[in-house]
């Protein structure tokens, strides 16, 4: 039962952990941005009650019930079979995570739109705003503030999901920890550093986002 800790070897990998963290955060930001565009489109289509509605419903349900790891494999190993071979492992994962996030964000934005009281739209109409003005000046700013807490949760969830990118050898934190594990056999040290990074960064993000939420809160 003997295990002697040796942190000095593991500490030489800290720059790689830091780079892995930056890559993970970059992937999270991009996926959230692309996912938000998908989510806005999906929510708009859902609200319009047109023929696109069941398609969006199907997309949301399929993405949410299938593991992200499978979508990552699909993007990386499957898409080249369709002639889409120009995505490397990083971009394959970003694509998969964006589509995955898009499904969750469609639901988030749909709920946000539904939560805007009718009177705001009516007031905007009665003061003579045009359709695009109503959307840009009234609906979207209100919706954004309503969904901000869910958006923060999605953001932190996505950050944790970037760990799955290790399966495609994307060099983010989990992959670095795997490498340290294999190179040095400092098993406990490698994994506790990785866990600590996710934990601390996740909580710092959460606290920061709560602060933004409080500042932007709608007075109701």
């Amino acid at each position: 039962m003997g295990y002697t800790f040796n942190w000095t070897i593991v500490f030489t990998y800290l720059p790689q952990f830091a780079q892995g963290l930056l890559l993970g955060l970059g992937i999270t930001f991009l996926s959230l941005a692309i996912g938000s565009l998908i989510g806005l489109g999906g929510a708009a289509i859902s609200q319009a009650a047109g023929p696109g509605r069941p398609v969006v419903r199907g997309y949301v349900e399929v993405m949410r019930n299938v593991p992200i790891l499978l979508w990552a494999y699909f993007a990386y190993y499957g898409l080249p079979q369709l002639g889409i071979g120009f995505l490397d492992n990083n971009w394959s994962f970003i694509l998969a995570l964006s589509l995955y996030a898009g499904a969750y964000l469609t639901e988030v934005f749909r709920a946000g739109l539904a939560a805007i009281p009718r009177r705001y739209g009516e007031a905007a109409m009665s003061i003579g705003l045009r359709r695009h003005q109503r959307i840009g000046l009234v609906t979207l700013p209100l919706m954004f503030r309503i969904v901000l807490p869910s958006l923060s949760n999605t953001f932190i969830g996505l950050f944790k999901d970037t760990s799955v990118a290790a399966a495609l050898a994307v060099p983010e934190v989990t992959f670095v920890a795997q490498k340290v594990n294999q190179d040095t056999f400092r098993v406990i040290e490698a994994w506790s550093i990785a866990a600590l990074i996710y934990l601390v960064v996740g909580y710092v993000l959460a606290i920061g986002l709560r602060r933004v939420e409080r500042r932007l809160q709608v007075v109701r």
Partner: protein, 215 residues
């Protein structure tokens, strides 16, 4: 899709492992959640602190990191856990934290007056739990419980990365020989979808059945 057919038996064996793993973890995490949820509300202060720490730490760490930590970490101490055991332990720790939080939230949402009334009419703590708290809390926590069950099924796919031969692992090894990744991944996705959507549907039906008490 014809390429997939000869591989369906091996994928079915993988599916069996997935379902077995998910069932074991669902049971163990529900137990952790029931005990942990009650203890985090009623337990002595050190127990509450410990559980709060457990829930908040585990929920902040990706499942995959938890899984690797348990699998590789246990091997640092003697013979360690095999892949299946490590997957069960890691996923139970993960899902148990979520379940604890769900049960805590469910109990916390009970009106104080209800619990006090049960005390006042002289029910013992076991009777209060059995006759008042459980019947009121269980229907309320059903929706998040079903969501967590779906998350557990999805999370079992990560066990393929430590070598558990589940549905995703079986799919990948079929692709290794038969190629045609798209057909195989779509088949596996369809299977995961049916399980997840089936659970959600069953949950929605059960919810409607038990929604007798609204206030």
């Amino acid at each position: 899709m014809d390429v997939v057919i000869p591989w369906l038996p091996s994928m079915a064996r993988g599916l069996q492992t997935t379902l077995w793993l998910a069932t074991v973890v669902l049971v163990s995490s529900s137990l952790i959640g029931a005990i942990g949820g009650l203890a985090i509300v009623n337990g002595p202060r050190p127990v509450r602190w410990f559980l709060r720490g457990y829930v908040d730490i585990v929920r902040g760490i990706p499942i995959l990191v938890l899984l690797f930590t348990v699998y590789f970490g246990s091997s640092a101490f003697g013979s360690g856990l095999d892949q299946g055991q490590a997957a069960i332990v890691a996923l139970s720790i993960f899902a148990g934290a979520h379940m604890t939080e769900i049960v805590r939230g469910g109990i916390g949402s009970l009106p104080r007056a209800t619990v006090e009334a049960a005390e006042v009419i002289g029910l013992t703590s076991v009777q209060r739990l059995r006759l008042v708290v459980a019947p009121l809390v269980l229907p309320r926590i059903l929706p998040p419980w079903v969501n967590t069950a779906v998350e557990i099924v999805k999370a079992t796919s990560l066990a393929s990365l430590i070598g558990v031969i589940d549905l995703l692992y079986a799919t990948n090894s079929a692709i290794g020989t038969a190629k045609h990744p798209i057909a195989f991944y779509l088949t596996a996705a369809a299977i995961y979808f049916v399980i997840g959507a089936g659970l959600s549907r069953a949950g929605a039906l059960a919810e409607r059945h038990y929604r007798y008490h609204e206030y």
